[in-house]
């Protein structure tokens, strides 16, 4: 008798448990990549992965600051705060990108990452982040090898879940080549890169565009990162007899080049040109850079308003000055702000609300980001193509004519290109 009674009790309890499971909460089924569940009181987790130490910190720190400002301006998502956590460092290298990515993917609550600063770091971080189902939205990667050749062919380092608001360097190469060929009227150019996907991608894009216009690339060589003695490479360049040297590298090696170029015979009258990696505060402070041309993203964002937060370029710069002091030391702050708001808008759109909890399906988040079209950001109208290139491709070229006021120099725009 006791036996039968306990069996019935167990059976009743079992039936009750099944019913409870079936009826408890909404039927949320995660997609193929899984989902992130944000419980009541928890925050939506995103991460910032930028170059925030060393000589290239001038590039990454404004991006991280802009990300934090965007998070503050955006506010909550369905009643949950958004948490950026500690900013991670991509060290502007593949090693840095890889180890930071491993740290990020080990936390299963992270939905997406704003980063990296440098294309070299993204080449290593993107596969890891993609495999874990997260999304990576970059404000300043520009290497063509991370997305596509803009003609429908996927590039070698593309991974699902990668997006960027920065331009593709195929545009910048074309813009720079047009400027040198048409505006400056020069025909013989030497190129120097440093082996990194960004610098090499940009010099290759320049070479292809310039040769197609009818110019000649006399030397296409490279320095190694960390090199200090530039006389041998400059001798190699001088042997080609160039009229202009385009060296879209980073400040450390760039400084040594401009300081040592005076000591190499044959380069007395050569014109110097750099790109967005060099248009940073510490490089533009070096006296020998006066008169140099710089290509980079057009940052005249004053009138553009970000539709998610209602902030425009002027407001942003004022708020940046109040919070961090001074102007941003590099040019991708608008791209970082827009990347963050783009991500948060997409998260808000795909989040399934379940009482106080929300579920964020990773695959749906990717689909939502890929479908971004006509999103109005600080940088202009953002529409993503199938390989993650979302940026408005406006490149401008300025000449550095004011060592004391870099903003004035950056306003000395000589040429604008719209892809």
């Amino acid at each position: 008798m006791k036996f039968k009674r306990s069996m019935r009790l167990v059976a009743a309890l079992g039936a009750l448990a099944l019913v409870a499971a079936a009826c408890g909460g909404t039927d949320f089924e995660a997609g193929a990549l899984g989902a992130v569940t944000v419980e009541s009181g928890e925050a939506v987790e995103i991460r910032s992965l930028e170059a925030i130490s060393g000589e290239v910190a001038f590039l990454g720190i404004p991006n991280e600051n802009a990300t934090r400002m965007a998070v503050d301006d955006f506010g909550q998502i369905h009643g949950h705060d958004v948490n950026v956590g500690t900013g991670l460092d991509d060290l502007c290298s593949a090693d840095g990108g890889q180890s930071a990515a491993q740290t990020i993917v080990s936390d299963e609550q992270v939905v997406g990452v704003i980063g990296t600063s440098c294309s070299g770091a993204a080449a290593a971080a993107s596969p890891l982040i993609s495999e874990a189902g997260l999304v990576l939205v970059s404000p300043s990667n520009t290497s063509p090898s991370l997305t596509s050749d803009l003609a429908g062919n996927v590039a070698e380092n593309w991974n699902a879940g990668y997006y960027r608001t920065a331009h593709n360097d195929l545009f910048q190469g074309q813009a720079a080549a047009n400027f040198v060929f048409d505006n400056l009227g020069l025909r013989k150019v030497a190129l120097i890169h440093d082996g990194d996907p960004y610098t090499n991608g940009l010099t290759t894009a320049f070479q292809n565009a310039f040769v197609e216009l009818g110019g000649e690339i006399v030397v296409h060589t490279a320095v190694a990162v960390g090199d200090t003695d530039m006389v041998p490479v400059l001798t190699e360049v001088a042997a080609g007899g160039p009229e202009l040297i385009f060296f879209p590298i980073f400040p450390a090696e760039g400084t040594f080049i401009v300081q040592q170029i005076g000591g190499v015979a044959g380069l007395e009258d050569v014109v110097l040109m750099g790109a967005d990696g060099l248009s940073v505060e510490n490089f533009m402070n070096v006296p020998e850079t006066e008169g140099m041309y710089f290509s980079g993203p057009d940052t005249r964002f004053d009138e553009n308003t970000n539709e998610a937060t209602g902030v425009n370029g002027v407001d942003f710069l004022a708020a940046y000055d109040t919070q961090w002091g001074g102007a941003p030391s590099a040019d991708f702050w608008g791209h970082a702000y827009d990347a963050t708001t783009m991500l948060l808008t997409a998260v808000e759109a795909v989040a399934v609300v379940d009482g106080d909890t929300i579920h964020i399906d990773r695959q749906l988040l990717r689909d939502e980001l890929s479908a971004t079209s006509g999103f109005n950001g600080l940088i202009g109208s953002i529409t993503c193509d199938e390989f993650g290139d979302c940026g408005a491709a406006v490149i401008s070229i300025f000449q550095h004519n004011n060592l004391d006021d870099h903003q004035a120099s950056k306003s000395n725009i000589l040429y604008t290109y719209s892809g």
């Binding site: 060393g54 890169h193 960390g226 003695d229 041998p232 190699e236 042997a239 040594f256 300081q259 015979a265």
Partner: protein
């Protein structure tokens, strides 16, 4: 070390076939052929009017020699410490960095007051003294704190310690001076202009670097061969125990060695300031390794060897890529960016020198404990 097998392949004759020796000969012959082909190619380019002009080659060679002279001065410190204590002091690169980093302070102050350009010689002497004092202090502190307690330990222990000390100094300086690259002001006076020597215009800074290096080397030679302390250093390097028994204060002699090595590194710091101007906390790493390479190249423990090794290494890494690698395109090996391979060329040069002459160019000078 080398395994040898005796394989009698002919009746009555013992033919010793040795895999390692054959491989070494293969490397030697390949190296000679590659270098010869490369140089021939470069000569062909030159005759055809392509590639660097004679003036550019000349400037490149002089620039490489001056860089090499700087490496040689740092290499002296490695050689001396190896001769006396028998281990490689990996922190020596950081001793060099500490001198050149610290001397930026007086240089910037002098530049801002205008003294830098008004009194170039005095300014450079002030920078030199600051660099030397800082380097010597760093070397002596490191010796006292990190190496003296390990005096009797197996050779590997101080070596590993020196790697740790190297990182410690790097990041201490990163904390003190920040991580951004600090720059010296441009060389003062008219140093950047060309001075005509035997009808050849050479940039003033390069000449100054070479002269300073030669003077430092002569000073060191005089110190080591003609003074009592120098004789004591040589005695301790020869045999520590017997020197102690002879009444030489071994501890004080070792400290003197570090002081002299640090002083040479300080002079190298001034030369770096003239040649490259930019310093950050990682500046000591690569020149340190290259200077160690130079010391081995010339024969470890051998002071003239260290200087010669330094100059040769400077030449290999400066001239090598363009001379040898660029010229290889006459046989169809087209290397796109030869300057990127500079460091590879420098270290391959070390490997080749050791393959051809294992004791280094001028022979090793080892103490009694190290001699086989």
């Amino acid at each position: 070390m080398t395994a040898s097998t005796t394989t009698p392949s002919r009746k009555g004759r013992r033919f010793r076939f040795n895999w390692v020796d054959s491989f070494l000969w293969f490397i030697r012959i390949t190296a000679i052929i590659t270098i010869a082909v490369g140089i021939t190619g470069s000569v062909q380019h030159f005759i055809a009017g392509e590639g660097p002009t004679l003036e550019q080659w000349r400037d490149l060679i002089i620039s490489s020699i001056s860089t090499g002279a700087m490496y040689g001065l740092i290499a002296l410190g490695y050689s001396m410490v190896y001769g006396i204590l028998g281990f490689i002091n990996f922190a020596h690169g950081e001793v060099f960095m500490s001198g050149t980093m610290a001397a930026i302070i007086p240089a910037t102050v002098l530049f801002n007051t205008g003294f830098w350009d008004a009194q170039p010689v005095l300014s450079l002497i002030i920078v030199l003294i600051t660099a030397m004092i800082t380097s010597v202090l760093t070397a002596v502190i490191v010796e006292k704190v990190a190496y003296r307690p390990l005096r009797g330990a197996p050779r590997l222990i101080p070596l590993i310690t020196s790697i740790g000390v190297s990182f410690f100094i790097q990041y201490a300086f990163a904390g003190l001076f920040g991580v951004a690259i600090r720059s010296y002001p441009p060389p003062p006076g008219n140093l950047t202009e060309d001075i005509i020597i035997f009808g050849v215009p050479i940039e003033g800074t390069k000449i100054l670097v070479i002269i300073v290096a030669i003077l430092a080397m002569i000073g060191l030679w005089y110190f080591v061969t003609r003074t009592k302390t120098g004789r004591a250093m040589r005695a301790v390097a020869e045999d520590k125990e017997i020197a102690g028994l002879m009444g030489i204060n071994v501890d004080r002699t070792i400290v003197t060695t570090f002081i002299v090595g640090g002083a040479m590194a300080g002079v190298a710091g001034l030369l770096w300031a003239l040649l490259f101007r930019g310093v950050d906390f990682l500046t000591g790493f690569l020149p340190g390794i290259k200077a160690f390479t130079a010391a081995v190249l010339g024969g470890i423990g051998n002071l003239p060897g260290a200087m010669l090794g330094g100059v040769l290494l400077g030449l290999f890494e400066g001239v090598g890529p363009i001379l040898v690698l660029d010229g290889l395109d006459i046989v169809g090996i087209d290397i796109p960016a030869v300057s990127q391979l500079r460091n590879a060329v420098a270290f391959i040069a070390l490997v080749l020198v050791l393959v051809f002459r294992p004791t280094g160019l001028l022979g090793e000078r080892l103490g009694s404990e190290d001699r086989a």
